[in-house]
């Protein structure tokens, strides 16, 4: 299915958010996630199913003012 990952269209086989993060090599990484504009905690990623056209944000710490 096609999803929108960090603003870019991406085709993925992942069924849930945890699988998606793992497929991108983010296992154990310092990241946080949101699906369709709402925060999804690390503990809820495995039970958050993905659907076509879902909008996913995967963010990490960065410099800020």
């Amino acid at each position: 299915m096609q999803i929108l990952l960090n603003g870019e269209p991406v085709v993925t086989q992942a069924r849930d958010l945890d699988e998606l993060c793992a497929s991108l090599g983010f296992t154990g990484a310092r990241i946080a996630t949101a699906v369709n504009g709402s925060f999804v905690s690390a503990g809820r990623r495995a039970t958050t199913s993905l659907a076509p056209a879902d909008t996913i944000e995967i963010v990490a710490p960065r410099q800020g003012g």
Binding site: N6, R30, A60, P61, R62, G64, G65
Partner: protein
């Protein structure tokens, strides 16, 4: 001593971590500034570049308390989601809440700000809202549970200093018990000293140090200015007056003839 949501700090300077010429310069500038609180952000992480993972290690080396921002958020919903992601990632209930209204001025959307602050306070966050000197917005933010307010001095990155000093003075007078930190628009150490002389509790800045020709030296200059301004406030400044008032005793002035007698 600066107290924010029950946490105490010796330094009254909060420092941004962006725009430094190198990570090493950032580290040295933080050390020279003696800042104990640094602001950070969240940005999209690329699976290839993984820039955030390296920055996390740098943050840990700084040994400062982190204040995550919601920079770039345009709605209360975006800001709330970003704050929640930041709380999980940085392990802090603190959030520098920004809801931006306009790309040219980066001025806060005060309506969205109040809406987001109310939601986040109810969910256990400790909110430090980036606001203006507007008294009505300040009242609503305090009513929503904020005990810290961060009005701008001028637009972010503009280095213009206190563009509405009277407004900042009024805010200080109206909210004597709220912690007030000027956030944004500071360009020179003299601006920071001026803020502190008004009785503000702290100054948050980034660009004026990061983009200086020598950020480490500028960090030290700001640390001195903020300390000087605070000392001056505590010492009690004299009131300005229109006419001169001689500092040397008038009595006994040589050659003086008293024409009145």
């Amino acid at each position: 001593m600066l107290e924010l949501y029950g946490a105490r700090f010796t330094s009254r300077l909060l420092l941004g971590t962006a725009q430094y010429p190198s990570p090493e310069t950032l580290k040295q500038a933080v050390k020279a500034s003696a800042a104990e609180i640094v602001t950070v952000s969240l940005r999209r992480e690329s699976a290839r570049a993984r820039a955030g993972q390296g920055f996390w290690e740098l943050i840990e080396q700084l040994g400062c308390r982190v204040l995550p921002n919601t920079a770039g958020c345009r709605t209360a919903k975006e800001a709330v989601a970003t704050a929640k992601m930041a709380r999980e990632l940085f392990g802090t209930p603190w959030v520098k809440l920004e809801v931006i209204a306009n790309d040219d001025t980066l001025q806060p959307d005060l309506f969205g700000l109040v809406e987001a602050a109310a939601i986040l306070n109810a969910e256990g966050f400790e909110v430090l809202p980036y606001t203006t000197e507007d008294l009505g917005a300040a009242e609503r933010l305090v009513a929503a549970g904020c005990t810290v307010l961060m009005p701008w001095a001028a637009p972010i990155g503009s280095a213009r200093g206190l563009t509405n000093k009277d407004g900042l003075k009024a805010l200080r007078a109206y909210f004597p018990d709220v912690k007030l930190i000027v956030d944004a628009g500071i360009g020179a150490p003299s601006h920071a000293a001026e803020v502190m002389e008004l009785g503000y509790d702290g100054v948050l800045l980034n660009t004026a140090i990061a983009k200086a020709a020598n950020p480490v030296k500028m960090a030290k200059a700001f640390a001195h200015a903020i300390e000087a301004g605070r000392l001056a406030f505590e010492a009690g400044l004299i009131e300005p007056r229109d006419m001169a008032s001689p500092s040397t005793p008038v009595a006994g002035t040589p050659f003086k003839i008293d024409h009145a007698s």
